[in-house]
């Protein structure tokens, strides 16, 4: 660790100067000021759109991918490719994936959406697969013994056993995508991050403060939304799903 600290040129002096700079920086952020309400609103809405679209598509794609990756239900020819997709999707941080997509599809929200879809598959695809691998196969076998089709076995034998956990993972992913959607803008993949970055570059620190506060507000609103979604589904789940 000492070696690492040395390599990073970390010293008490720099730390103190840093604190000093930080204090001056915070001083310039106060009071927050909404310099460009239009670009703030546009950025926030775009982030929200990126998060919601990426979460829905990511979850939809993760369902089959997670199912195919479950080794207790699927043959090797299905689990192998599904696991490869999940592993690939997990390899890079969403920001790196976003950079790649900006190169591929150009600047803007589409790149951000694609990046977060990939992140979602990597994260909940894996969790879905693990949840399915932990189910009781006796229940599945009983449903299969009735002559049910593969889809019906999934619907009645597998889904009820994992439904509650899936909802948990999905809302967690929505939350995490909301956070990440504020970041992909920094590399030009749409959302509030872009607005934040340019405010930084203009040394517009009071606007930066306003943006940061609105991001906090948005994340909190997202938390409330996620709790609500969990409530709705798990309540319904008591009757026919969970």
């Amino acid at each position: 660790m000492i070696y690492a600290l040395g390599r990073l040129d970390f010293s008490w002096d720099r730390f103190v100067t840093g604190l000093d700079n930080g204090a001056r920086f915070i001083g310039r952020m106060l009071p927050p000021r909404i310099a460009q309400p239009d670009s703030l609103a546009k950025g926030l809405i775009e982030s929200l759109e990126i998060a919601i679209l990426a979460s829905s598509m990511g979850i939809l794609l993760s369902l089959p991918i997670g199912l195919f990756a479950a080794r207790n239900l699927m043959p090797v020819w299905a689990t192998w490719p599904a696991r490869a997709i999940i592993a690939a999707a997990r390899s890079f941080h969403p920001v790196i994936v976003a950079i790649i997509f900006v190169k591929a599809v150009g600047f803007g929200a589409l790149a951000g959406i694609c990046a977060l879809v990939v992140a979602s598959i990597g994260f909940i695809g894996k969790l879905f697969a693990e949840a399915i691998e932990e189910i009781s196969l006796k229940q599945v076998e009983a449903v299969r013994a009735t002559g049910a089709s593969f889809m019906n076995v999934i619907l009645f034998g597998v889904l009820p056993q994992v439904f509650g956990r899936f909802i948990g993972f999905a809302t967690y992913q929505l939350d995490s995508n909301l956070r990440n959607s504020t970041m992909v803008g920094i590399v030009g993949a749409g959302g509030i991050g872009g607005t934040l970055f340019s405010a930084f570059q203009r040394f517009d620190y009071d606007f930066v403060a306003a943006i940061l506060l609105s991001i906090i507000a948005m994340i909190m609103a997202g938390e409330v939304l996620a709790t609500w979604v969990r409530g709705v589904f798990l309540e319904k789940g008591k009757v026919d799903g969970e």
Binding site: A142, G147, L155
Partner: protein, 256 residues
């Protein structure tokens, strides 16, 4: 036995889980289209394997299984599912879908006849729902339709398990040690329910069991297995101490 009165006809059934180790060593047996048959035999002799080969939860290594006018041993895919839906199965550990309601567990007996989107929306034909309520009454769980299965006792679960199997309108009911996890009184009730439902709906029942007295009390026919072969096949009265010795080996366990 002629074809019309035979529900199931097993011919030369062999099962090897490990190559060269015959768990079922050429089983040949017919089951009539009515009555309750009990399969008894020591642990590990292949009773579960036999039942599970019949509905193909286990792949037979060789032999034929004639059911519903065809050999179902080589069936695959849709044809196999269509054969399975005519065979109900009751499990030792009930194997209910714990997080579904009792009613949904019963309706899952109809899944072989229900397209996926209707199953997803829980849109089962009214006829099935009526039948499910009637069966729940018959097994004494009339007021439990909306309970979640994981809130039931063992005896109640097994009643649901039986009702689920009968929901299939099966032409054969298999039960693998349905009472082994239950107390003696509940065991008697469960056996009674199986015998009565079998009679009422005209379904032949094959039950694996360990309790010889219970088998004698409820079965019309006893099949004794040992070492993957059938060593006794006859009426309950025929189960003399000598026969029990051939089935289970030794005699020290026979009291008096």
């Amino acid at each position: 036995m002629n074809a019309a009165s035979t529900a199931l006809s097993v011919r030369g059934l062999v099962k090897e889980y490990v190559r060269g180790k015959k768990v079922l060593d050429g089983i040949t047996i017919d089951f009539a289209a009515s009555g309750l048959s009990a399969v008894i035999g020591p642990s590990g002799t292949g009773k579960s394997t036999l039942l599970r080969c019949v509905n193909r939860l286990v792949e037979p290594t060789a032999g034929q299984i004639h059911f519903g006018g065809r050999d179902i041993a080589p069936l695959k895919g849709r044809a196999l599912r269509e054969a399975r839906r005519e065979i109900g199965m009751v499990f030792q550990e009930y194997n209910l879908v714990e997080r579904l309601s009792v009613m949904e567990n019963l309706l899952s007996g109809r899944l072989g006849y229900t397209p996926a989107f209707k199953a997803w929306l829980r849109r089962f034909p009214q006829e099935d729902i009526d039948r499910a309520f009637a069966l729940l009454d018959q097994v004494g769980l009339g007021s439990f339709a909306n309970q979640r299965a994981d809130a039931l006792s063992g005896g109640q679960r097994q009643r649901v398990g039986i009702a689920r199997a009968v929901m299939q309108r099966p032409k054969l009911l298999l039960a693998d040690e349905p009472t082994s996890s239950l107390d003696p009184k509940t065991s008697v009730e469960i056996m009674g329910i199986m015998r009565d439902l079998g009679r009422e709906h005209g379904i032949p029942v094959i039950v694996n069991m360990h309790d010889v007295e219970l088998a004698k009390r409820f079965a019309d026919r006893i099949v004794g297995m040992s070492g993957g072969r059938i060593v006794y096949d006859g009426p309950p009265d025929g189960l003399t101490d000598d026969v029990l010795k051939t089935i289970y080996g030794g005699e020290s366990w026979l009291a008096g």
